[in-house]
């Protein structure tokens, strides 16, 4: 239509009716041809958009859907019998590292979403590992104490480490969670990130995910929490040093604090003898 209008305007302007008439016909024919080509272009265009949309929806939908659905226990569960001291001690299981016969035991009650625990895990724990655990001076035990009221992913994170333990990658995963704490802590759902870390440490993703999206190990983590409450754990990380029949809680959560506590215990034991 636009072309026809301009064709007509052109005829009147140049004053050559026959030529103009031929020009209008040619112009209209060209318009029809262009319109057909335009329609064809639009069909191809919609086809391309459709392909992009299908691929995009599929990729994003799969990524979101596969990590969103599934009921993962992310809150403490009721474990019957924990009021009984013997049952509680049997149910609460810390994860141990080092020689069971070592003269000292270093106990941590920790929360994977707590920044202080992350700092302790990444700066002090390697020193404990190198200087105390590997030398046989101490055994290290980590008990879960997720502060679920302030750290919404902490319980799930503790369960995630237990799922990693099923694949013999507990400590690797433990460190991985602390190393990436600032990333997964701020996410609305951490499940996807946890599965990714599992794969990063060499676990089989599907098995880990299936464990995570269940209530597996929720009872152990809940029992560990109860043990912490029974021991009046005030905050995280709470570090205790046990040896020679004594238990000391650290006020200063540093490697030096641990050495000082061990020295004090040894001195007290020597004085007692």
């Amino acid at each position: 239509m636009t072309a026809a209008f301009f064709g007509a305007a052109c005829t009147n302007t140049i004053g050559a009716p026959l030529a103009a008439h031929r020009g209008v016909n040619v112009s209209r024919a060209e318009d029809r041809k262009k319109a057909r080509e335009g329609g064809s272009d639009m069909t191809k265009f919609y086809l391309i958009l459709g392909v992009i949309a299908v691929v995009g929806i599929g990729a994003v939908g799969y990524s979101v859907g596969s990590n969103t659905f599934g009921t993962a226990a992310s809150e403490p569960v009721e474990v019957p019998g924990l009021d009984d001291q013997a049952t509680l001690v049997a149910m609460a299981q810390g994860v141990k590292k080092g020689d069971e016969d070592a003269p000292f035991t270093i106990i941590e009650f920790g929360d994977y979403q707590c920044p202080g625990c992350g700092e302790f895990g990444l700066s002090v724990e390697p020193q404990i590992d190198l200087l105390l655990v590997q030398t046989g001076r101490a055994q290290f035990i980590y008990y879960d104490f997720p502060l679920t009221q302030v750290h919404p992913h902490a319980f799930l994170a503790a369960r995630a480490t237990r799922c990693a333990q099923d694949g013999d990658k507990y400590w690797e995963y433990h460190t991985m969670l602390f190393r990436n704490q600032s990333s997964w802590s701020v996410q609305q759902s951490a499940i996807g990130a946890f599965v990714g870390y599992a794969e990063d440490v060499g676990l089989e993703g599907d098995a880990f995910e299936s464990c995570l999206k269940s209530d597996e190990h929720a009872d152990v983590v809940s029992a560990n929490m109860r043990l912490g409450y029974e021991l009046a754990v005030p905050s995280t990380p709470t570090i205790m040093v046990q040896g020679f029949g004594q238990l000391r809680r650290l006020r200063n959560n540093s490697y030096q604090g641990i050495e000082e506590a061990m020295a004090a215990i040894e001195a007290a034991a020597a004085a007692g003898n």
Partner: protein, 163 residues
Amino acid sequence: MTEDSIYPVDDMGSAASATPPMNRMVIAALALVGIFVALYLFAHNLGLGGPMVCGVGDCAAVQSSIYAKVGPVPVSAIGLVGYIALLVLSFMGIQPGRRDSRAIGGLLLAGAFGGTVFSAYLTYLEAAVIHAWCQYCVISAILITLIFFAALAEVPRLRGNRS
């Protein structure tokens, strides 16, 4: 109007109204790809996208940096809105009757320019400040740059005499 001035307008007008402008179709297709890239990042920001599949670079470092948000708004959300706007505009711009629209052309050019400048700033942050690359940000930067080049084809249309 003179004969010289009429024919070029006639030719341009006929061609423009009968066939959809190729550059706008290209912008629409690229913007749609950009929407899904931004959507993936945004889903990840919401914790819905699971672990970010990052074959090249360190997406986690970039996405967890302070530059991943403008105030409380994730950069991915800004990108998502921008790409949607470009898609809607370009889609409108290929519909019969709007193929010669200078308003749409101007908005496309301005939007693409703004997006390219913003993307260049983010790329600078990755290179010089964060010292880490997020492959999706790089893909987005390439997409918006291509969109800008495609939008440059609006310039002759904007300089034309007809609205």
